[in-house]
């Protein structure tokens, strides 16, 4: 699974710390997500999508 968190973060001018604070996780978790080293829970994916005002499918790209 790939994601566009970095791209959305740049679009909304948010730092990793800012995003981590908004979704109540540690900054390391955002780093892991952006490096595709971790697949988030549905709850976290939903929270991230809500911060960017979009859907989970827009941010997380599922490989078949």
């Amino acid at each position: 699974m790939n994601n566009r968190i970095k791209e959305f973060r740049a679009r909304y001018n948010l730092t990793q710390d800012d995003l981590a604070g908004k979704v109540n996780v540690r900054r390391e978790t955002i780093v892991f997500l952006e490096k595709n080293k971790y697949n988030p829970s549905l709850r976290l994916a939903h929270d991230i999508a809500r911060v960017f005002g979009t859907t989970i499918e827009e941010i997380f790209i599922f490989d078949s």
Binding site: R26, R27, K37, Y38, R43
Partner: protein
């Protein structure tokens, strides 16, 4: 606040116990004792570093633990459990072949388990938890 106290008190107690143990037998110190002391010191430093990371995150207004850190901890615990089974099997195998007392072997086993857990945690932290 409770966590902050525990973060200071627990490593301090372990360090004091290690120092008492180290200096009580400093005259007839063997290489294996120094090695054991070094390993315990490494484990202590590791625990303090992990605790400090949690404290720093908490101080900056974030959670001390989140879903990733909990998953890494759970994965490291399960991996180290399996590896520790083989470690104890190896200790049982070698216990008949090397002249060490039972309490020394148990000590090696316990320290080995702690080292295995630390290594698993570091490896998972480095490699990540992709597709878990």
């Amino acid at each position: 606040m409770k966590n902050r106290k525990a973060l200071i008190i627990l490593p301090a107690l372990v360090l004091i116990a290690c120092l008492v143990w180290f200096f009580s037998g400093v005259e007839n110190m063997k290489f294996s004792n120094i090695l054991n002391f070094g390993i315990i010191l490494l484990i202590l430093i590791f625990a303090v570093l992990v605790g400090f990371r949690r404290f720093k995150s908490f101080r900056d207004g974030g959670p001390a633990e989140d879903e990733l850190s909990k998953k890494i901890l759970a994965k490291a615990a399960s991996m180290s459990y399996y590896i520790s089974l083989y470690l104890w099997l190896a200790i049982m195998y070698f216990s008949d072949r090397i002249a060490l007392e039972n309490h020394t072997l148990i000590g090696f086993g316990i320290i080995g388990m702690a080292v295995v857990f630390g290594v698993c945690w570091l490896v998972i932290n480095f490699a990540g938890l992709k597709n878990e």
